[in-house]
Amino acid sequence: MVVSGGTPSIELRGVYKRFATPTGAPFTALRDLTLSVRQGEFCAIVGPTGCGKSTTLALISGLEPPSAGRVEVLGRPVTGIVPETGYVFQTDAVFPWKSVLDNVAAGPLFRGVARSAARARAKDWIQRVGLAGFEHHYPHQLSGGMRKRVALAQTLINNPRVILMDEPFSALDVQTRTLMENELLALWSATSASVVFVTHDLEEAIALADRVVVLTAGPATIKGIYSVDLPRPRNVAEVRFDPRFADIYQEIWADLREEVLVSYERNKRNAAA
């Protein structure tokens, strides 16, 4: 099922992002990036390592302002943190000094919900991500996969309309990863949220997304956008054997491969220099 309906929930138009490096020389991470994500769409962004995928998410979330161009979320220009967004980070970003329950309840508490109500909602979300019984554990007592579940519950409890995910499962082992991907699809299908999912793993991108965006080696801009017309609901473990999957993979890989090679050569030169 390709999500229909035209209202864009995220729009980037002619976006540039430059950083000052420690030496003072400007570094361009994004160059003239234009992208629009529809309401309820699952959009994956792939590209070579370090090309600016995470920067794109930082711009959409409002953590970073663009250097030029427009960023709009839900029809409003982004000027600071957008309350309707959720963000799942690549590395562990759950609070190590809070129990699972307090971690999940953090969002509502920060937003002024009463403690008892926040805890009740947190309990419900802990149940939904399959962590019932671990409410009073601290993150260091959990496995990597379980900590990701905490992060998911922590994000989803705020009912975000835009969910940004920065290689959330890249640190997990393959089995746990497949499990978490299926869980994510199940949780997402119960919402009407748009997802922007950054990954360097093309298989993961195709298995999850409605559309796959390929970025060029940095400074990143759009190389190509591909629709993934695999039926939903999908089982991530099985959809990979769909012959259509292989076709899509080949088509996108041809594009991505060039950029990966460019990035690889560049890194090699930099390392040698």
């Binding site: 953590l63 943190i81 963000y87 609070f95 190590p96 000094w97 969002g107 920060f110 922590q154």
Partner: protein, 297 residues
């Protein structure tokens, strides 16, 4: 606390998941080995003290080392016993200890509060840090003991001058740790809190401070010792009561046993305080995995 079998290194033998009974035997054996090791350590510790004190006593008895300069363990014990039973030149022994402790604890508390507040403030605010940074570094590079004389002129021979010296000693240790702790906070955690809806104040109270707490508490171990140094040096420079004054008095009457006796009392007080800080640490940072287990130094 973790059960003891988790503290010892895992046995090298490959463990079969099916053999639950073997696991129990292993656990019991490891618990025994752990207890054995603890006993051996205790015995070794006591032996070090016995050998050291015995050598000291014998060398002075044989007059290889001069009692006039080095004192003598038996003399030190006598001295402490006299202080306990007959009091010191300035009054009862417990009163001297109480005075020094009062100065130490007051100086410690004030220094810690100032250090944490300013450390977090400057750690959070780049502009403030850039403006005040050089001054704080300059102040820190000054040998603070010389301030003791000024404080006695300013605040007199009583408690305030000792507290002031303890405060300046404690402040910098805690300040730099708190400042560094705030600077080292994981950027991802801050970003996560902001996205989840935290205001800057909630970011400070819910992310920055808990995260910096392990740094701050680490500094408390050293800074309590510094507070004690501040109080004792302050008393040594000029006071009416206190352990520092006892050391000064003993020195002026050429009584090395008195100097060492007061030092031993100070060491005992410092060790008790250290145990208190460790207990506080275990309470405050319960969330941290127990990496350091049986290294008690």
């Amino acid at each position: 606390m973790r059960p003891p079998e988790l503290i010892t290194a895992p046995l090298p033998a490959a463990r079969d998941a099916a053999s639950g009974a073997d696991d129990l035997v292993d656990a019991a054996a490891r618990a025994r080995a752990y207890a054995q090791r603890r006993r051996n350590i205790q015995i070794a510790r006591v032996s070090v003290a016995v050998v050291f004190l015995a050598a000291w006593e014998i060398l002075t008895q044989l007059e290889i080392a001069d009692v006039f300069f080095f004192g003598q363990p038996s003399g030190i014990i006598n001295q402490i016993w006299r202080w306990v039973t007959r009091g010191t030149a300035q009054g009862a022994l417990w009163e001297q200890i109480a005075v020094t402790l009062e100065e130490t604890i007051l100086g410690f508390l004030i220094g810690v509060v100032l250090g944490v507040v300013l450390g977090v403030l400057l750690g959070r605010n780049r502009d403030l840090a850039d403006v005040f940074g050089p001054y704080i570094k300059a102040a820190n590079s000054m040998p603070r003991v010389v301030l003791g004389s000024i404080f006695i002129i300013w605040f007199g021979l009583g408690l305030p001058s000792k507290v002031a010296l303890a405060v300046v000693l404690v402040f910098f240790v805690v300040f730099f740790n708190a400042f560094q702790g705030v600077r080292e906070v994981d950027r991802n955690l801050i970003a996560n809190a902001r996205i989840l809806g935290a205001s800057p104040r909630r970011v400070t109270s819910d992310v920055i401070i808990p995260s910096a707490l392990s740094w701050i508490i680490a500094s408390l171990h050293t800074s309590f010792g510094f507070a004690l140094v501040g109080a004792v040096v302050g008393e040594y420079l000029g006071a009416i009561k206190g352990l520092g004054l006892m050391i000064a008095t003993a020195q002026n009457t050429f009584n090395p046993n008195g100097v060492f006796g007061a030092m031993f009392i100070l060491a005992a007080v410092a060790l008790l305080a250290e145990a208190g800080v460790t207990a506080l640490e275990n309470r405050l940072i319960r969330w941290r995995p127990n990496v350091i287990t049986d290294v008690t130094l």
